[in-house]
Symmetry: C2
Subunit: 167 residues, 2 copies
């Protein structure tokens, strides 16, 4: 029922959008502070450690790890350097491919993620999901994944419905 010609949002949409923006800022901030206080990990640290600890193999290459995280490789590279400095992950040379590197989970890393995960998951569940019906969860999931897909379509093609930026 929205007017497809106007660029503006309806009042209801404004309300939803501003709430989303606010949540988008405040929820990660809260999770980050809790994580930091409980275990000294940052939210990005946590994500990396989750991937490493859930992996089938005991060590991962950088690029697949970046893909699994949905991160740019350079971001991961920067972050791994910091995490290595704090002893959470290790690096090994890759014999098969001289360019490559293995990322490993150190004992300290495994200890950190083991300790940090339960309270983190509990907070997420309490804040987001505990009072949510299955129907509403389905609506949220459908909405979120749908938007995500459109975002990726819009970002990926490099030339979509954009004003034609020839370069």
């Amino acid at each position: 029922m929205t007017d497809r010609e106007s660029p503006w949002l309806s009042d209801d949409q404004q309300t939803a959008w501003r709430a989303w923006l606010a949540l988008n800022g405040e929820l990660p901030a809260l999770l980050h502070r809790r994580l930091q206080a409980d275990s000294g990990l940052s939210l990005p640290d946590f994500e990396v450690l989750v991937q490493l600890s859930e992996a089938d193999e005991p060590r991962l290459r950088v690029s697949p790890l970046a893909a699994a995280l949905g991160w740019e490789r350079s971001r991961l590279s920067h972050h791994l350097k910091r995490m290595e400095g704090r002893g959470l992950v290790g690096r090994e040379e890759c014999e098969d491919d001289g360019r490559g590197a293995w990322v490993t989970l150190t004992d300290a890393g495994r200890r950190a993620i083991t300790q940090a995960a339960p309270p983190h998951a509990r907070v997420v569940r309490e804040l987001l999901f505990d009072d949510l019906s299955a129907d509403d969860l389905a609506v949220i999931t459908r909405f979120t994944t749908g938007v995500l897909e459109r975002v990726r379509d819009a970002a990926g093609p490099a030339s979509a419905s954009r004003p034609a930026r020839p370069a």
Copy 2:
């Protein structure tokens, strides 16, 4: 129907949560790149300019502006310095209160926000709202505002159900 004792998320909750996390990273990134390409503004720049251009008065004090944005004052202070450097905002001394400062919208700032807002709003509408029913929008809004409220409750009290961090 979730098990309130377990810290873990159900599979459906996991799906929703991971999609939310991914969206949370990728949507602002896309909006930022669009805004940057269209008008040279960053997303935070945009938010500041929206507040300034929508304000009743022609100039705002720093603290109320920070509150309206939901930002920490020091963050706003840093950001205003950068925006001032790029000519988007100006600062004036406050006569009433020697500690205070006024933030003003420069002509360049007004021009930038006027030019940037329509395409930005259109992208938001296309990505999030165009194919969303009124019922679903209501579900989303209720969910988002509910979570936001719980987040603020959890963040604000400084001493809530946390492990009691005495000093």
